[in-house]
């Protein structure tokens, strides 16, 4: 009896012991931490993420929205009372009424700062790496940190200096920030390669960024000045770095303007620095091509689900700068940067699948495209698809309303229809984009040669006494677009004309806000924008970041006016 009890007790205790007294160390099953990498894998593995963040920064709702919708180049009304209302953020952005809780302001901030952090991680890991390219990667990481810092300086008026992941960043503003970015870029310039672009940071890219920094230094030094003082030595530096790039045989202006924005633009020699997108990698996005296009425009014969979204259009003021420049000639007829027709509707309105291609540039008036009924394209002939006038077929209650883009676009009801505003289809609609949103193929341009010429021209003008040379730079760019008849040369040049020219050449390339501030035009009036508040030259620091830093008094101070 006692024996029985004893053996039973032993069994129970045995069960108890088998399963008990664990150390409670968490066993992670579904995540592999990095171990056993070769030096090459590690080196590539820490530099790739630094660049990969660019794709998130250069989204339609982040950097694009901040740099374009806040200006006269783009406006995004609450379309049809159903689309892009987004709690008023695009209206706020255009009217310069941003607040610290704005999600787009916050998302842009977050993406850029993760980019900086990844650069710090790479800079901490690469010095001990023995892979042959690790020194180059280290220079690129440091350069990218400087580039991301240039973005935070431009958008939010401050930079974060962090050399080691374990330390707390130091915050710099104004002159100190300029000096820091300058010194970082200068430090890496001699170390960089010039053959790894445009998807990676090259010597040429850093020279271009230095030119950009010097050109805007007056703004960054005295952000709220009523007029900026451009120092001669800064302008000399702009010219010096632009000269270096222009002198490089590596870069050349593109004869075909829109080919710079095609799916295959990676090898276009005009591109100096760009976000390298590959459809087969799957990370890229087609938002640059999707954002402005009509929601009833389905540009890919292979994918009847890929459409646009009726996002922003250009303001009538911006459109008028084109019209006024070329009157009485229509800008489409005289400037190949304005418009390129790819679709000619044949008499039988049947287009072979293989040749169907949508128009590019600034789209006006009635739009034509593939006819789509109940989610499927209408076939015709052999391997043909029916094309015709587009209607707002997918918009309940507007199914018979034609997709006819109007010059008027504003925040009134009449100006906020699905089809108001002239649209921009600068980038090619990526041929593999199943949904129209994903699988971007084209590189997104950050810096290209035409901008370098125009920066040099501007520096010459601001320095004074070299107007003819500046005009030559501008006309050299115009004359280079020889794939069709290039736009006629300008007869004279001034700062106002140069800003207009930058608009013609670089519209929707995410430089407009910086340009307008530098040219003193950001407090102007256009369409729905009347604010003259200089404090809006900077975006607010997101309230989430201010909250998070509230335990360190005085560390992160909100920009004035927010």
């Amino acid at each position: 009896m006692i024996k029985k009890i004893f053996s039973l007790l032993l069994i129970f205790t045995g069960i108890a012991v088998i399963n008990s007294c664990t150390k409670l160390e968490e066993d992670v099953l579904d995540e592999g931490s990095v171990a056993g990498l070769t030096d090459k894998q590690q080196a590539e593995g820490v530099i790739a993420p630094v660049y990969a963040k660019l794709e998130d920064v250069f989204m339609h709702t982040t950097y694009f929205a901040l740099q374009e919708i806040s200006t006269d180049e783009a406006i995004l009304p609450f379309r049809g009372g159903t689309d892009w209302g987004d709690n008023g953020i695009y209206v706020q952005l255009h009217k310069h009424e941003n607040i610290a809780s704005d999600v787009n302001v916050r998302n842009t901030w977050n993406h850029i700062l993760i980019g900086i952090s990844r650069a710090v991680t790479a800079m901490n890991a690469l010095p001990t790496n023995t892979y042959t390219d690790s020194k180059l990667f280290l220079a690129e990481a440091r350069g990218m940190k400087a580039y991301y810092s240039l973005l935070t300086l431009d958008l939010y008026g401050l930079i974060f200096v962090k050399e080691d992941a374990s330390e707390t960043s130091k915050i710099l503003r104004g002159e100190e920030a300029i000096e820091y970015i300058k010194s970082e870029l200068l430090a890496v310039e001699p170390l960089l390669d010039n053959t790894t672009g445009p998807g990676r940071l090259t010597k040429g890219a850093v020279q271009g960024l230095l030119a950009r920094l010097y050109l805007n230094a007056a703004v960054y030094r005295d952000r709220y000045a009523s007029s900026f003082t451009f120092k001669t030595e800064d302008m000399d530096k702009v010219i010096e770095y632009c000269d270096k790039i222009i002198a490089s045989p590596q870069y050349a202006l593109s004869a075909d303007y829109f080919s710079m924005f095609n799916d295959n633009n990676h090898t276009n020699r005009e591109l100096i620095f760009a976000v390298d997108q590959r459809a087969d990698l799957g990370n890229g996005h087609n938002r640059m091509a999707y954002f402005s296009l009509s929601g009833d425009h389905f540009p890919l014969t292979a994918y009847p689900g890929a459409n646009g979204t009726d996002g922003p259009g250009i303001t009538p003021e911006f459109y008028r700068t084109w019209v006024n420049a070329y009157a009485p000639t229509d800008p489409a007829a005289i400037d190949p940067r304005f418009y390129k027709q790819n679709l000619v509707v044949p008499a039988d309105s049947c287009v072979p699948k293989a040749t169907f291609n949508i128009d590019r540039g600034i789209l006006r008036g009635q739009q034509y495209g593939l006819i789509r009924v109940s989610g499927a394209f209408v076939n015709c002939g052999t391997n043909g698809l029916r094309v015709g006038k587009l209607h707002n077929t997918t918009r309940p209650g507007s199914t018979n309303v034609p997709v006819n883009f109007t010059e008027q676009i504003d925040f009134t009801v009449a100006g906020s229809g699905y089809s108001t505003g002239y649209r921009v289809e600068k980038y090619e609609f990526s041929k593999t984009s199943v949904s129209g949103r994903n699988f971007g193929e084209h590189d997104i341009v950050i810096l290209r040669l035409a901008d370098v010429y125009l920066m040099r021209a501007e520096a010459k003008l601001r320095k004074g006494g070299a107007d003819a040379s500046a005009l030559a730079d501008v006309n050299f760019v115009r004359a280079a677009r020889t794939a069709s008849t290039p736009p006629p040369p300008l007869a004279n040049i001034s700062l106002d004309l140069l800003l207009r020219e930058r608009g013609f050449e670089l519209y929707w390339e995410m430089v407009r806000r910086t340009d307008m501030i530098r040219f003193g035009k950001y407090e102007g009036t256009w369409t729905e924008k009347t604010s003259t508040d200089k404090q809006k030259r900077l975006f607010p620091i997101p309230s989430t970041a201010i909250d998070a830093a509230s335990n360190i008094p005085g560390y992160l101070v909100q920009n004035p006016g927010y």
Binding site: L9, P49, A52, T168
Partner: protein
């Protein structure tokens, strides 16, 4: 930190104290009197344990053992008094005999006064914590899928939100208010001693597997003095479910069957075709008229039938008792193509060995649930807005094809099927080592596997490629517990102690795969996914996750009663969890509570109170429902961190990035609770009641926070926010009056009411947003927002104040800067009710009985996000259907946009006739079948018969999950599955 250290030192001392209590009885010298022994049995001859035996007029007292035996020292001529809650007191005069057999008759009034507390049971009158026990006959009736629904309105302080009318949908439940801002405020469920994991098992409510008819009782431990025995899982309350067991000597065979019919309780009053033809031009739209008159809500819903069959056997002999059941519930949803079928079986056995010293309990439950659902949000969202002039069917009787998908086409093109198999079982032998000292082992396992197929069929018109997604879930929860209990009583002292160790391991895994593009009319891809024609990593990358949570605990309890009047309970648990950071592996959770049975005092001898007990308790508990792995940094290869470094295509280098930062300090959320309670009974127990006051403060709130230095590899890091608190305080009152009469009408009325207030304080954040919205120009708005001084579930919105002269919405300009934006938002009420109440009544006359249950809430708001995004003049003008109310104001311009504002904030108060049952028990003796059938009962139950509310949606009891980053949303109604009104006919036989 200092506080923690003190706590720690104190609880290191606890084992010493426990040892002391164990040794105490052995130190006391026995008195010199004759030993009287005996056995106490009930009228059926079964031994009765835990009967108090007192020597009248002296201090001698003892308790009967499991086998009914007792030993007490007494002199000849002494009178022994045998008393127990469940039995009438009996007296016995000691004669020369030294052994006695005492038979107790059951006390019919308070037969059920045993409550299940963690790791044991207590008599209700001895309980010092806030605990409510609910027996099966008190449960809600009707079509019930989960134990939470059985409880709704039954227990004060417990808020059950059955927010969807979908069979098997998740049911929300909170005990004494939410203590955190994240999801994970669900109480701990313990089924037959096995604590469940609240992780999803693959679809629907995780408790769908329990057949409600197998449940004997549900005990709700509300305050920390009761839940601290469950330590780091006790902060949100503990709900203990006990399944039925057989009784020795009673053999029963029961068969119940029911059939129920459900239909939509309240359709939205959208325009019908004729009204629509008038309304669209009226608001200035161009009518799109196809001449029909279709009620789309009627087209997508149906009268649904639910069948339930349940067979159970129970019985036993001296050493063995068993309960076995088999249940089938086939439930149709009121939306077409939506069903939930459940098959469940249970086998519970108790076997005694070794002269009853060893008792082996085995519980086994198995269930299979199969759920089929159409894309419900699309179906309902479209049905309430689709043009009612469009005929539903074409000339051939098929759903008509229009430019925008006909809601009926979803039934043909989309389906989701989830099958879950779940087995729960435990074996728990207990062994009486010496008298009063019992060792118990509990070994349990809960294993579920689920398969979910989400199928979008290919179609030519409307064009679709088709896609199949397969999800596989595995959940395995194993438990080993060893504990000792000791009971000792001497004179006026009555002591019991418990000490144990527990180890629990929870494994959760999900895998998913998918394939695209099928041939129209081909093989159903569910049966052969290989018929798919498109499979790319970009579109079909397989996914999954897996984690293991381990929990190791040491726990103990001491109860001490002096003179049966002064009660003291101390609970303690040390919980270690693999989810906690290295610097905080173990949490320590003590509680103390006191009870004073005032009614047993001499001065209360002639009072009207048959029972009056004062309770007071304090305790610390934790909430360890935090995501796994958050203490550890993750630096890993990330698809989105890859980038083409070289010109060539393909073979892109992997990118390694931090996606999570380490925080070795992460710990449980801590909750400190004080409870003051009064239990009372008047008029010989006819009127009973309870009043509780509670104050619960949650600290160490766990959030994903942004570091002060924003240059971080990941935007956020998990952290316990210092200083931030969430306080729930309130009062609970329960009252019950019973009138019992043998011959005529007997009745019982009662109710409960809870007053509760919740408040967030010392949050370092200006606003913690939740309640995400999307679509129709409101993306990036949020509905809920947590700010200091306001409760969880607060609606943080722009305040709508009417229309301006242009017919556009006007809002309060809080900062008075002339611009209305998110800076003008205000806290405008909360989704948490301030009052939760229920009223019930039962009446019996001869064979008939009628039971009514009402429940309701008030003081809460509901955000009608459905109305916000679906109905407006602007949309009506575009031929989108609407409820008349949304377009009624003639002042409103057709172009007025409808952002997220208080315009859609509604009073969420309601009173519901939750269920009403009319039953008749046939007199089997009169029918002459009593030898064969002992009882026959027929009943009709009406469920959700009426709701009184001002709310204009389907039902005010709503809570669609619109959480943001795991921050819970509350009180948002978004195209919620409409609630059903049901009538159920049931027939029960006992053999």
């Amino acid at each position: 930190m200092l506080k923690l250290n003190q706590r720690f030192v104190f609880f290191r001392m606890l084992p010493v104290l426990l040892t002391f209590f164990f040794l105490l009885p052995m130190l006391i010298v026995q008195a010199q009197q004759r030993q009287i022994t005996g056995t106490v049995k009930d009228t059926k001859g079964s031994p009765v344990a835990s009967v108090t035996v007192i020597v009248k007029g002296s201090t001698g007292t003892t308790l009967t053992a499991e086998d009914g035996s007792f030993t007490i020292s007494a002199k000849d001529g002494d009178v022994l008094v045998f008393s127990s809650v469940s039995f009438e007191s009996t007296e016995l005069k000691v004669t020369s005999a030294s052994s006695y057999e005492v038979v107790l008759t059951a006390n019919t009034v308070v037969l059920s006064d045993v409550v299940v507390v963690g790791y044991g049971t207590q008599r209700k009158k001895d309980v010092t914590g806030a605990v409510k026990s609910l027996k099966s006959d008190e449960f809600n009736k009707g079509i019930v899928n989960t134990p939470q629904q059985l409880l709704q309105g039954k227990v004060s302080g417990v808020n059950v939100t059955s927010s969807s009318g979908e069979p098997g949908a998740n049911i929300g439940i909170t005990v004494r208010g939410p203590g955190g801002v994240r999801t994970g405020s669900t109480p701990l469920f313990v089924v037959d001693g096995l604590p469940l994991d609240n992780s999803s098992t693959g679809g629907g409510d995780p408790l769908n597997f329990i057949n409600p008819q197998d449940i004997e009782s549900i005990d709700v431990l509300k305050d920390a003095s009761a839940t601290a025995i469950y330590g780091a899982r006790g902060a949100n309350g503990v709900i203990i479910i006990t399944t039925k067991r057989g009784k020795a000597g009673v053999s029963t065979l029961g068969f119940t069957s029911s059939v129920g019919f459900s239909s939509i309780a309240n359709a939205l009053p959208v325009f019908n075709g004729d009204e629509f033809r008038v309304a669209v031009p009226q608001v200035g739209g161009t009518l799109d008229n196809k001449g029909g008159n279709t009620d789309w809500q009627d087209e997508v819903t149906r009268t649904a039938m639910t069948q339930n069959y349940n067979l159970n056997l129970s019985g036993g002999a001296n050493k063995l008792s068993y309960f076995a059941s088999f249940g089938i519930q086939k439930q149709e949803g009121i939306i077409k193509e939506n069903d939930l079928d459940r098959y469940s079986g249970r086998f519970n056995v108790t076997q005694k060995f070794l002269e009853d010293r060893l008792v082996l309990e085995v519980n086994l439950g198995v269930s299979n649930t199969k759920q089929k659902r159409p894309p419900i949000t699309s179906v309902i969202g479209d049905a309430i807005t689709y043009n009612p002039t469009y005929p539903a069917y074409d000339a051939n009787g098929n759903p008509a094809i229009y430019q925008n998908i006909n809601p009926l086409l979803y039934f043909e093109l989309d389906k989701e099927t989830t099958t879950i198999n779940r087995v729960t079982g435990n074996i728990s032998p207990s062994f009486r080592i010496i008298k009063g000292l019992v060792y118990k082992l509990n070994f349990g396992i809960d294993n579920s596997t689920a398969t979910r197929d989400v199928l979008s069929l290919p179609s030519t018109v409307p064009f679709r490629d088709g896609r199949l997604d397969n999800f596989y879930n595995w959940n395995r929860n194993t438990l080993v517990e060893n504990y000792l209990t000791y009971a000792w009583s001497k004179a006026k002292h009555n002591v019991s102690a418990l000490a144990g160790h527990s180890y629990q391991k929870i494994f959760v895994q999900q895998r998913n795969s998918s394939i695209n593009r099928f041939v129209v009319g081909g093989v159903d891809p569910i049966y052969n996914p290989g018929v798919g024609q498109d499979l790319t990593l970009a579109n079909n990358r397989p996914g999954g996750f897996a984690f293991i949570n381990e929990l190791q605990s040491f726990f103990g309890r001491v109860t001490y009663q002096y003179n049966n009047k002064y009660l003291f309970t101390a609970n303690f648990r040390a919980d270690g969890s693999s989810k906690f950071g290295d610097n905080n592996k173990y949490g320590y959770f003590p509680s103390f509570s006191f009870g004073w049975k005032i009614s047993d005092e001499d001065f209360m001898q002639n009072s009207i109170f048959s029972n009056l007990k004062l309770r007071a308790g304090w305790g610390l508990t934790g909430n360890q429902e935090i995501p796994p792995k958050i203490t550890q940094a993750l630096f890993t290869s990330l698809g989105s961190a890859s980038y083409p470094l070289y010109p060539a295509s393909g073979n892109y280098p992997a990118g390694y990035a931090y996606t999570r930062l380490a925080n070795p300090d992460i710990q449980w959320e801590t909750s400190e609770q004080i409870d003051l309670g009064l239990d009372f009974g008047l008029f010989k127990g006819a009127l009973t009641g309870t009043i509780d006051l509670f104050h619960k403060v949650s600290r160490d709130i766990l959030l994903q926070v942004i570091p002060a230095d924003p240059v971080q590899p990941a935007t956020e890091v998990w952290s316990n926010v210092p200083d931030m608190t969430i306080t729930n305080q309130g009062a609970e009152i329960e009252l019950d009056y019973r009138h019992k009469s043998e011959s005529s009408i007997s009745y019982n009325i009662g109710g409960n009411i809870t007053f509760i207030k919740n408040k967030v304080e010392n949050s370092p954040y200006t606003l913690i947003p939740s309640g995400s919205v999307s679509g129709a120009g409101i993306t990036s708005s949020t509905i809920n927002g947590y700010v200091n001084g306001e409760p969880i579930g607060t609606f943080y919105l722009k305040e709508f104040i009417g229309f301006d002269n242009n017919g556009m919405s006007a809002y309060t300009d809080v900062d008075k800067n002339g611009v209305i934006n998110d800076n003008d938002r205000l806290a405008l009420g909360t989704a948490l009710p301030s009052v939760i109440y229920s009223v019930y009544g039962n009446i019996g006359y001869k064979g008939f009985d009628l039971a009514l249950n009402f429940n309701g809430v008030s003081g809460n708001k509901v955000y009608n996000y459905t109305e916000n995004v679906s109905f407006s003049k602007l949309r009506l003008a575009k031929n989108v259907n609407s409820i008349p109310e949304a377009v009624a104001d003639p002042k409103e311009s057709i172009n007025n946009p409808t952002p997220v504002t208080s315009r859609y904030l509604r009073d969420g108060a309601y009173l519901r006739l939750n269920n009403a049952t009319l039953g008749y028990n046939f007199n089997t003796k009169k029918l002459g079948i009593s030898n064969w059938v002992s009882a026959v009962r027929f009943s009709v139950t009406g469920q959700n018969l009426f709701v009184s509310t001002k709310y204009n949606g389907y039902d005010p009891e709503v809570n669609i999950d619109r959480s943001i980053n795991g921050i819970s949303s509350y009180g948002i109604d978004y195209i919620t599955y409409p609630k059903a009104r049901s009538v159920i006919f049931a027939l029960n036989f006992s053999f």
